[in-house]
Symmetry: C3
Subunit: 356 residues, 3 copies
């Protein structure tokens, strides 16, 4: 069934569309076998992951010379992107903005909607559609769950469709964060992700990144997961069920010491106390879920230490100078893999891969 | 008389200059027979309108290919623009910013003056002059009537003059809005604007767009205007007098139903309740000045439906999908015609028109 | 001793490093005989000043043609800069941003840190390091003394170092302001700065610009300084001592009238009442430290009038039209000399100087 037919048949209205299972919705956000709107981690299969990582690697190499960087910036120099970030996020904002700049996009930005047409009684959908008039790509972060998806749905049905990338939508999805985590594992671990032991540490209950990352592990054979968390902050049942269903072995513990020795990657996270409802974080002894200078002696020579950042005290500052601490590289990887995703959406990744 | 002479003779000081009739002031804002500072709708005559629309059309066509878009972006790649928008207006801001990007300008922006030198006791004129030091074009929106004009006056007399474009100045002028409205009429109506019946609907008393649009109709032969509004919100006498003086036929009514049948264009507007002094808008039954899905059957096949946006309920959402609803295109037209205006100010429109 | 050795030996930790004398710290912020991080006025010696001014002059000339401007913008088109300005400063911000654009940099900006990761408990050092991941240059203004220097220190020791330019740090340093002042003196005074009489007027006690400017005068032979200020706001003893030590003759007075006749340059400044602790500025009769239209008759034909801006009433508006009033040019010079500094840091100044 062609996409256009599906549109009219399957999605007569937004509410009906939205209620569907994510996997049923994915085809609507694709065009010609490639991602058009990037909304869900579920849109990345192994084939696409490998392709995007290859593109990201190649872009990084090309960008090391002026000629290569100028080539990249020529690819989409005729395009304009809008960063619509109404939820504060300097980190993700800058990562996307610079990813756009790498490919030559001109960018404009909206970081506060209270200042304008919403005062005049315009619906958020009309606002976004207005702003989209001027650009070729929308990258959006929005606090309301489903809002980014709805924007993509609206824009996809418009006479002048514009692709939408989810830069973090409510608590539900932040697909490019998962992408950069897997990219970092894949590029920093010798031989890639397959067969590796990944230890995730901290507030696994409320951390969006560890949830998405666990999910994406279904794309890699032989991965073993170890979840290290305070008893109150264990990984949620839906993810554990998912892992069981996909036969991905996992273990749960609240003791980091013994498991760090076997880790190929340790993924540290901070406590997500902004989601507290009654100060429950204060009752947690988080000091047992921190990585210290002295722990560097305990881990494998090849083990990498990751963190989605921002950090508090989960990783001692002096750890930064160890070569196995890759969280700053991980941060930078975000920019590259986002650039690769945009290159994919705009069908220029072949040009990048062929460039010598 | 040459411009420079006029400057010294006619405008020894700002207050004297400002009090003059607009038509007397226009020559001061021109250089070598082209607009230098764009401040008033009155600066657009038929010849210039036709020229700008031709340039805008050509730019849109060129931008459809990468080669064409890169050509456009090469034209003014050596120029820098400053968007000085101290009155909230995301819509107009983005439209201008992207128009600049189309032509290759680098842009910088000021969106809040409270944060800087005004605290240090600088006059607004000095602030603007300072900021202008760095750029080749100023696009300005300012809540104080006359402020944009004064900036143009100051900068025009400076040793290093910089052109100024009015992006909306108090309640008085918003010339590029009128420009995009006429451009939309001209490009969406078969055979152009001449001889057409244009129905303007809503709060005609306080809507800046319908006032400017009516004014510009003097440039087109055989146009008939129909004003549909609540009795309290009728078009003001100064415009009606202007129309009579220029022999432009118009009619007033408060009943949209019968007149929509004869319309070539229906221009809907929202109620401007931000200008209420005592909640008078609440007494108006605005539901009679809305366009609904069912009305699509009543209007001509060739009739276009316009709206300056933002809208509230004046046009039902489902109308958007009809081909005659052109308000999203109208929004986008704003970017193109602003780009054409900038191309005109910087004398590159011939290069655009000649490009094959 | 090589820089890297020094790093490990001399600066084991920040506090030890920071407490050193500025001259001892300078080598740490250089690489291959050029400035890598620009933090202190003390980094500019006569040889470098001459070089930067030559580059700035050449850039201005090149920028007068489209071909020249496009050449400049091609030089660092593969680089990205971040403007991290958490202290309000539209003037310096725009000057740097446009300097970056002249050289082809793509820019991103942070103007408010309260909106993001600081809420999540990240240290400022981690925030800056995160943001630096995406770019090749950081230009920073920060209210906390030493913060810009610390950023440079951190980034200089990182695996992926990024140069840092000080755009104004607390009350201590604003090196590019001093640079533009000397550049203006040098380019507007026939025969350059040597042997000239420079009169500095106003709040000399608290004005950062007059302090730095006095300091840099050690690079020029035969300069005489005259300090004109209210008794309460005299130049501070550390600068006077510095001048004596370097045998630079100076005089102090509170009477502008007689000294303006002998001046080659008059550097006016506003009262810095934002540094008042108990409204002491209100007790000062500042009217005696203003330059008026009538004073134009008293000064030399070749005397230039400067002001770091913003001004209040220190210079009458009508003075602006006199050719000897160079403060607007001075403002613009800031952009050019900052562009020259960036060209130096990125080793492209030879390409600029060789361009015909």
């Amino acid at each position: 069934m062609k996409r256009t037919e599906m549109m009219t048949e399957v999605s007569p209205n937004w509410d009906q569309f939205y209620r569907q299972d994510i996997n049923a919705k994915i085809p609507f956000f694709c065009r010609e076998d490639r991602i058009y709107d990037c909304l869900f981690s579920q849109q990345f299969d192994r084939h696409l992951l490998d392709r995007l990582f290859g593109v990201a690697d190649k872009m990084r190499r090309l960008a090391q010379t002026k000629a290569g960087a100028d080539f990249l910036a020529s690819l989409l120099s005729h395009k304009r992107a809008m960063l619509y970030f109404v939820q504060p996020s300097t980190r993700t904002f800058l990562s996307f903005q610079n990813a756009c700049h790498i490919l030559g996009f001109k960018t404009s930005e909206i970081r506060d909607t209270s200042i304008s047409s919403e005062i005049k009684g315009e619906t958020p959908e009309d606002s976004v559609r207005t702003f989209s008039s001027y650009v070729d790509l929308i990258i959006m972060r929005h606090p309301v769950p489903g809002f980014v998806e709805k924007t993509a749905w609206v824009m996809n049905r418009a006479k002048r469709p514009v692709p939408v990338i989810n830069g973090g939508s409510g608590k539900d999805q932040h697909p490019t964060q998962a992408l950069l985590d897997v990219y970092t594992l894949n590029s920093c671990l010798k031989g890639g992700v397959e067969g590796k032991t990944i230890v995730m540490v901290g507030d696994l209950k409320r951390g969006r990144t560890v949830r998405s990352l666990s999910y994406l592990m279904k794309n890699y054979k032989g991965v073993r997961l170890v979840f290290v968390s305070p008893p109150q902050l264990r990984m949620e049942k839906d993810i554990l069920d998912f892992l069981s269903r996909h036969l991905i072995p996992y273990r749960e513990t609240d003791d980091l010491g013994p498991v760090m020795r076997e880790a190929d990657a340790i993924y540290m996270t901070r406590i997500q106390d902004e989601h507290d409802t009654a100060g429950e974080s204060k009752k947690v002894d988080y000091s047992r879920f921190c990585f210290r200078q002295k722990d560097l002696k305990a881990i494998k020579d090849t083990c990498i230490i990751m963190h989605p950042l921002p950090r508090r005290d989960e990783i001692e500052l002096s750890v930064d100078e160890d070569d196995r601490a890759v969280y700053w590289r991980q941060e930078r990887n975000g920019m590259w893999v986002r650039a690769a995703l945009i290159a994919h959406i705009f069908s220029v990744e072949d040009q990048i891969l062929k460039r010598s």
